[in-house]
Subunit: 283 residues, 2 copies
Amino acid sequence: MTNVVPVVPLVRITGATRLYAIVGDPIAQVRSPEVFTGRFAAAGINAVLVPVHVPAASFDAIIPALLALGNLDGVLVTVPFKARMVQFASRLGPAAACIGAVNALRREADGSWSGDMFDGAGFVRGAETKGQRLRGRRVLQFGAGGAGSAIACALAEAGVASIRIVDPESGRVEALATALRRAFPDCDVAPATAQRGDVDMVVNASPVGMRPGDGMPGDIGALNSGTLVGDVVVSETPTPLIAQAQRDGCAWVNGRDMHSGQIEAIMGFFGARPAAAGGTAEN
Amino acid sequence: MTNVVPVVPLVRITGATRLYAIVGDPIAQVRSPEVFTGRFAAAGINAVLVPVHVPAASFDAIIPALLALGNLDGVLVTVPFKARMVQFASRLGPAAACIGAVNALRREADGSWSGDMFDGAGFVRGAETKGQRLRGRRVLQFGAGGAGSAIACALAEAGVASIRIVDPESGRVEALATALRRAFPDCDVAPATAQRGDVDMVVNASPVGMRPGDGMPGDIGALNSGTLVGDVVVSETPTPLIAQAQRDGCAWVNGRDMHSGQIEAIMGFFGARPAAAGGTAEN
């Protein structure tokens, strides 16, 4: 989650501080420790989220031990572990089950771990925060990779009527469509055809728009003020797709909105826990 | 390390923050996270020391995984793991080797872990901070338990000439004396006899003095201004032994001096590491 909190918060760490970890390889580039530690502090929760560098070759040996720690309450998962982490969750949310990847786990009261994928939930949350209704939407989506899969699952879970998918790799379009139909049989999912007719939502989940000079992610058809436009790309200035949406008077959700939405969604998933008692002094 | 830092420091946690852990069961009562995290911040090191609750039944499974984390640089060890942790150190310092227990480990440049026991080093450091010379001292020590063993080893390592040991459990006096003689053959170690003649240093490493109404840890013989007096007990008011030392004009080292000394010794053992580069934004 990039650049969503402008200042690095200052926090206290005591013996009673509860731990959350973000696991990845490499790890130094992640921003979640600042973001979530700050959110815990703001919520009055005695907890910190620390970066945990898990060398990829040792992942399978390290994760069970981490999850056995008595004061670890939650885990965020980043590259390259989102798929490999699934095996360590006793329960998966719908999006995680659909795409076979998790990016957050929490410890349940019985000590077991539940996981879900919030990369797409952030998009849904971001749209809802802007007052947009997703149920019944007819979606044209560009991109069927990791982010695209997560967003399509979250949209299906949120009740969109149909999703038409565009991706240069037709194989992963088919794979995603198959997974979505199995998990969400009420949602009409198919590869997009050349015809761009009946859509009222356009989502870019491809990398197009990240580089200066990038144009549209593809043929977006005709926008009107009723079309909801989303773009996963985080950039200082509007991407070509978001700029077009603004010109056409559309509601839009950009990469920053998605990141903020994901933080809210994960904070809700983690839930607030009371700070543990301080106990007496030792070591 | 009790009550050595009056305020809980505020720190930043980023993706590049290096980790130190204190492992114990239970863990909420430990003070090291506040103390060492504050010391790292004061030294300009981007590192935190976090409490890590390792359930005792899972210790052997969890510790190798913890030590395999790519951004963990050091570990403190508290009850009940100081002896069990020895097996995970590739190298032991003299005190740790002598008593078979460690309370701190650091990652070396080659990725292996070195351990040592600083429970006694704190006493030595505390005495040195007060300008006291230990080499050649003839010591009468009360207590041959965990703290007593660590202090006796540290004193022998610091070059005291002799140590006479008093403990209600004669078996552990013999065991400690045997270990000390093997590790430090130049130091004359023996159970104390009833005769309290030729000593110029008295150390209480027993719990006597912790409770209101406690008296002396035993027959301390005659003190004079050349006698160095030490007491492991941490208390707001002077223990009976320290009070006697003050009346007799002796130099003295109390539990608080020892704790401060141990923090200095462990900070030196950990060494200063440069903060890792921040990298670019992600997650």
